[in-house]
Amino acid sequence: MTVSSPSVLLRAEGISKSFPGVRALHRVNLEVRAGEVHALLGENGAGKSTLMHILAGVFPPDGGSLYLDGQAASFTSPHAAQVAGIAMVFQERSLAGPLSVAENVFFGRQPVGRWGVINSRRLYRDTLEVLAELDIQLDPDTAVEFLSPAEQQMVEIAKALSIKARLLVLDEPTSTLTETEITTLFRVIGLLRDRGVGIIYISHRMAEVFRICDRLTVLRDGEDQGTFDLGDVSEEQLIGKMVEREFRYRQAGPVRSAVAREAALEIQGLSDRTLLREISFQAHAGQITALAGLAGSGRTELALAIFGARPITAGRILIQGRPAQIRSPREAIRAGIGYLPEDRKEAGLFLEMGLAANFGAASLERFGCWWLDDGAMEEEAAAAATHLRLTNLRARSVHELSGGSQQKIMLARWLLVRPPIFIIDEPTRGIDIGAKMEVHELLRKLAVEGATVLLISSELPEVLSLADRILVMREGSLAGEIPRPEATEETILRLAALPHSIHAHARA
């Protein structure tokens, strides 16, 4: 019998797991108490998701044991884990879009009458009850697909709660949320914690971890680096544990001066049907111009509009002072614009295709005007891969690569096209710190070499360390520009969100 403090909810001891050719976890320990928010930190590939999959019963560990309430437990299926009270909310939503909130919350467990007919009255009532417990205002009859990402996430949490979950795993829950929505989420997390639910919180965002977590465990290369109380460690120390090398966000260097006085890209009064209103700005060659703003403020939509992938209703786009006719991405590329989308998997990569095919996708004409020279494409792709320090060259499809490598392939694709204007949307979302530094270095180099870089990023430290100019968007229009000397996370946020209440902490 193992001895453990009474409040320990879940204990994982010496968990190991290997996949062909990879040691994903090696003797990892994790202890989660009832009523705590426990952060799980680590770079991509550190083993966080493998560990969570083991907890969720997706696959068994090769070695080690799990204890729930001090009792040895082993989950043979996700269902078994659910029955034991473990619920997961992954980044990918697992909701049925056309079905209602109620149907989703009680998915597969709808209250039924005789003959197995669903009792919709009771379903509605029960759902209201669960939502009320979380203090969430939602109509149980709304179809989930009409909800915002944040509301959908609330539905997922309500679902977890309705199975009487005692351990809730949240995997990067804030990556698609706005600041206000994050506040709501944190309030709900606080509620659950007070009720004695143990919460495992996975996030790349340090600030959030410090905001709501009580303890944390760091994973690196499949081994745990210890568990700490939040009060005992600094951000620097944690990052040091995650990457083993002292790391500091590079402070912004001297602002690069524009190569030419004339704007390389000028937007005049651009509007679209639903969101963008009267946007005008200039971006200069040789500089990184950042578009900051909260999620939903229209940054990505603006990028798509400039790139010809979103119809506009008014406005002009001038390139090197001349109006450009851009009605499709093809025309945008011809006009000298490249766009790296925010969602690599969804809109950037051809996941089932190989490295070379992904690399050459935007410059097929380079490899032959009638016949395609696959050999040349492979060769150039291999050269670019070496140049960008891509390791897993043998991968047959890019689907097998890490987020960082995938992002590098996207960059390589556009470096091959070499447009004078780069629009880069969330270049480091979900990639590990090492790859992030390399991507930053590359963006700086692009600007120094005379490209016009338009950077969209939700990570303010990234904006601050890269940008020469900072434009802030709010609700579909340009809220203003923050002069470089005055730029701090605080000033940017203040401009991005309307007045007060954005720094409200969940922890009362």
Binding site: R330, L349, E352, R396
Partner: protein
């Protein structure tokens, strides 16, 4: 049977960028092995009737026009769409061409290009609905399938016979002992294989099928490409329907019935998938030949034709399931 390499990725090995060199158990190779086994078996069982020139050419002749249409279908399927209207198109263009030749007394030199133009137009209409109006390909072509069939019956009644000899000769001509449909198939297949596997233009269909959104953002004109592939499909279906009418000297409004599903089956057997991004012309031809070989052997074995559907149905499901199994092992 050779042991499949555990890491064989069906995805990578059925596209044009598949790595060469080591042997992989792809859909095409499995099909060829099965066909080889079938041919050897049938030769042993029916040594006097099966391996004869007459039997083999008739087998090919009956398959040729399916093969021509399948070459168009594989392009669509690589791009992630398909066309259910091709059986109706086959019949409609046969009937319309026959009508132009008989009732309208147009010379073949005018009626043939006119028929092909109508076929391309019909296909382009499908493409326009799918690419521009954003109607799901299944629904759009399910609609035109019935429209085209209706037009065929309206114009042709049960059928139009007594086609002029100048036209009929086109479908019945022989050269080196092979009838014209076989030559047509060879021309379309050889051209198709090289175009689809080697040209920049057709390579874009693999990108579109793999991820249409990413293809668009990489500067590929997805809509135009889709419209073109449907137009090409219409042209090939019309060409096949016209050749068939010429070969049997009659254009019937029931011909080509069920061709769409038979051909989609063949294309999938040959390595393509409904979700796009995969498929080759060689594989497609192997699929088409496989189906007709089974059919042929059934006839010799004096088994009722129902056995043909049962066997092909099983092979289709097993082949696709095997893919998933091999894919999951990665």
């Amino acid at each position: 049977m050779p042991v499949p390499e555990a890491t064989a990725s069906p995805v990578a090995s059925t596209g044009p960028t598949a790595r060469r060199g080591r042997f992989r158990l792809t859909r095409e190779t499995v099909l060829l092995l099965l066909m080889l086994a079938g041919v050897i078996g049938a030769t042993i069982a029916f040594p006097r009737s099966f391996p004869t020139w007459a039997n083999l050419t008739s087998l090919l002749r009956n398959t040729a026009l399916d093969g021509v249409m399948a070459c168009g279908m594989v392009v669509l399927m690589v791009g992630g769409v398909f066309d259910l209207s091709i059986g109706s198109m086959f019949s409609m263009i046969g009937v319309l061409t026959a009508w132009m030749l008989t009732t309208a007394r147009m010379p073949p030199l005018l009626a043939i290009p006119a028929g092909l133009a109508l076929a391309t137009l019909g296909g382009t209409l499908n493409g326009w609905m799918v690419a521009k109006v954003k109607v799901n390909a299944l629904i759009a072509t399910l609609g035109t399938m019935q429209v085209f069939r209706g037009i065929a019956v309206l114009v042709g009644g049960p059928g139009i016979a007594n086609l002029p000899p100048g036209f009929v000769r086109i479908g019945q001509a022989e050269w080196l002992g092979l009838q014209s449909p076989i030559w047509l198939l060879m021309a379309v297949a050889v051209a198709g294989q090289y175009l689809l596997a080697k040209t920049r233009f057709f390579r874009k269909y693999y990108y579109i099928g793999a991820n249409p959104k990413a293809a668009l953002l990489s500067g590929i004109s997805v809509e135009r490409m889709q419209i073109f592939s449907f137009g090409l499909m219409g042209l090939l279906a019309g060409l096949a329907g016209m050749t068939f009418a010429a070969r049997v000297a009659t254009a019937t409004s029931t011909s080509g019935d069920g061709a769409e599903l038979r051909i989609i089956t063949a294309v999938i057997l040959g390595g393509a998938s409904l979700s796009g991004g995969r498929g080759t012309v060689w594989g497609t031809l192997a699929g088409v030949l496989f189906i007709s070989l089974i059919n042929n052997i059934m006839i010799f074995a004096r088994l009722s034709p129902e056995w043909q559907s049962i066997i092909i149905g099983c092979v289709l499901v097993i082949a696709v399931a095997m893919d998933r199994f091999l894919g999951a092992k990665r």
